[in-house]
Amino acid sequence: MGSFELLEHTADIGIAAKADSWPELLQQLALGLRRILCGDSVIASTLCLTQTIRGEDREELLVNLLNELIFLLETRNFLTAELEVDCRATGVLTLHLHGEAFDPARHQWQQEVKAATYHQLRIEQDGESWRAQVYLDL
């Protein structure tokens, strides 16, 4: 069972996640981002999007995934409630995103996130146990 927690940073914020698989780890990080963006707001899964993420290594894929969710919010007004991650192809993630249009009346907007960064980025695997840590620039 995966989980995440938010990490303190003087100016920004981090997410530490753990899970039993790489796709689930990415899901937990996405949930962490969701918490940072709009707290515990209920987000309906009325819209679906499929996006492809590319990267040369897991670190790049992780950063690119989170940055894609930020990009979709800013350019398509799409707020991700949950996602499935298909990582069967090397260097590619296929994201099946479920969410809805951001509605300031219902979604408790917390703050803008500029980007996920490579600062102290860590991904660790020990058998079926996965952990990651990433910091976001606010």
Partner: protein, 480 residues
């Protein structure tokens, strides 16, 4: 990992050169600041910057330093044109985040009876928060590219301000060499709807009054008088700049490997200044810087409109004139004297402000006698300061000084401290009207989350890298 640090004098500390460092570190701070810094990573980051190839002189840190990505926030470093590098981490995600200050003909006594409606109208007229935009400003791709090449001049050409404004902006509101072809479609898409928006976090629009004058002669030349109403705008290149930085990091990580540059921290990724990767980054960075200049120019126009609406006076009566606009996240080619020789250097300022001295040709003619204005915002509950640049800064820090207060508390800790507090109410009781789009913003931005900017500018003045002219106190604060 602890960092060796030696005290030089009351406000200077040295990180001695050792190991992989190519130069030493120079930190401007008082003792209390240094003790606080030992518990976080900023000093380690100052040391890491000193490891980069072609660094000329020390890796410098200002008294508002705190840890960032790659470079610390409050970091300055200069690199040789032939041997040195450019690093996006030395500029930051918010390329040309900066501040501008407007003065007015109004006094606080005239404005205070209207402060609530003024705050409401500013909050309406200046977009802040996610998804907000001005519906009367919709750019197509061609127009966006013009913004990236022309900067603030594009906005003035569209009727947002006057040519005189351009004379009072760093680089006259445009960094040369911007090439929109070096910017990704993703950045263009992300930026298009965000031009003319404030952003959130520590970005703000603030109506202020001149609370104290420390240097009457300089204040007079800046057009400041006690009790005068001023307006500060703090914002940058928005999603456009963030995307340019994100795009560049991937390329620079590969470039660092390609050119055999060892990185103590991946966010310090860089490329030799002579490389195509460096050229591409600087051309894209210039686009983002110009976006930010245009952004602040547009917001200025809407501030002016709002004052006209609320006070039923025209521009000639309000005289909302631009004092100056400064960058505090940027990399620029500048000429500085090093060991008696003029050298062309790529100066990185990340959370640091240019502070050119009296007489410098790039200091606007109106201020050449006193030095370039430097605008130092504090937190939303206390004060901000206006300084001018000095010869001391030009000699010691590549003409650089601090940029703000610097955080001392994480956002989580600030929210915890703020629990149960009526932040808006407390500010209101202090005479500060607040409007904020984001629920987390107010709690995270409480004054206790920041250093007292008075301490920061005191160190700057004591060190001779800036000279205090005036203190401003907030009357109304608008945040995203």
């Amino acid at each position: 990992m602890s960092v060796n640090i030696e005290q030089i004098d009351a406000c200077r500390w040295r990180i001695p050169r050792e190991g992989a460092m190519r130069s030493e570190g120079l930190v401007f701070a008082d003792r209390a600041m240094i003790e606080r810094l030992r518990s976080e990573q900023a000093l380690e980051q100052v040391r890491n910057v000193a490891c980069l190839p072609g660094i000329v002189g020390p890796s410098i840190a200002m008294p508002d330093i705190h840890w960032g990505y790659g470079f610390p926030i409050g970091g300055v470093a200069a690199f040789d044109a032939e041997e040195g590098v450019v690093s996006p981490g030395g500029v930051g995600y918010d390329i040309n985040c900066g501040v501008r200050l407007l003065r007015s003909a109004l006094s606080a006594e005239e404005v205070l009876p209207h402060i609530e409606i003024l705050a409401d109208r500013l909050f309406q007229n200046v977009p802040a928060g996610v998804g907000s935009e001005r519906r009367d400003l919709r750019l197509n791709l061609h127009q966006e590219r013009q913004v990236l090449q022309q900067g603030a001049a594009w906005a003035v050409g569209q009727g947002y301000g006057t040519p005189e404004d351009l004379e009072h902006i760093e680089e006259r509101g445009v960094i040369a060499g911007a090439d929109p072809l070096k910017v990704s479609p993703r950045a263009l898409e992300r930026g298009r709807s965000q031009l003319g928006t404030l952003g959130s976090g520590n970005h703000f629009l603030e109506v202020q009054r001149v609370d104290k004058i420390f240097d009457p002669q300089a204040a007079e030349l800046l057009g400041l008088f006690p009790g005068q109403v001023t307006v500060s705008i703090h914002t940058g290149s928005r999603g456009f700049g963030y995307q340019v930085c994100d795009d560049s990091l991937r390329r620079m990580i590969k470039a660092s490997r390609k050119y055999g540059i060892h990185l103590p921290d991946r966010q310090l990724c860089c490329a030799p200044l002579s490389s195509p990767e460096a050229h591409d980054y600087l051309e894209a960075m210039a686009c983002a810087a110009n976006f930010a200049f245009a952004n602040r120019q547009l917001i200025t126009a809407w501030v002016r409109e709002t004052f006209e609406q609320v006070f039923h006076k025209g521009p000639a009566a309000l005289r909302l004139a631009l004092i100056y606009d400064v960058c505090h996240n940027i990399a620029k080619w500048e000429t500085h004297e090093v060991a008696g020789r003029a050298r062309r250097l790529c100066v990185h300022r990340k959370g640091a402000t240019r502070a050119f001295p009296p007489g410098h040709p790039e200091t606007p003619a109106a201020y050449r006698q006193i030095g370039q204005p430097v605008l130092i915002p504090g937190d939303m509950g206390r004060y901000s300061f206006v300084l001018v640049g000095t010869q001391g800064a030009f000699s010691e820090t590549y003409g650089s000084t601090c940029h703000g207060a610097g955080r001392v508390m994480s956002r989580h800790a600030a929210k915890k401290r703020a629990r149960g507090q009526d932040i808006s109410g407390d500010l209101q009781r202090q005479g500060i009207s607040i409007r904020a789009a984001g629920r987390a913003t107010l709690a995270e931005e409480i004054p206790e989350a920041y250093k007292d900017v008075r301490d920061v500018v005191s160190v700057v003045q004591q060190a001779g890298i800036g000279k205090i002219v005036a203190r401003l106190k907030p009357l109304a604060v608008i945040k995203g």
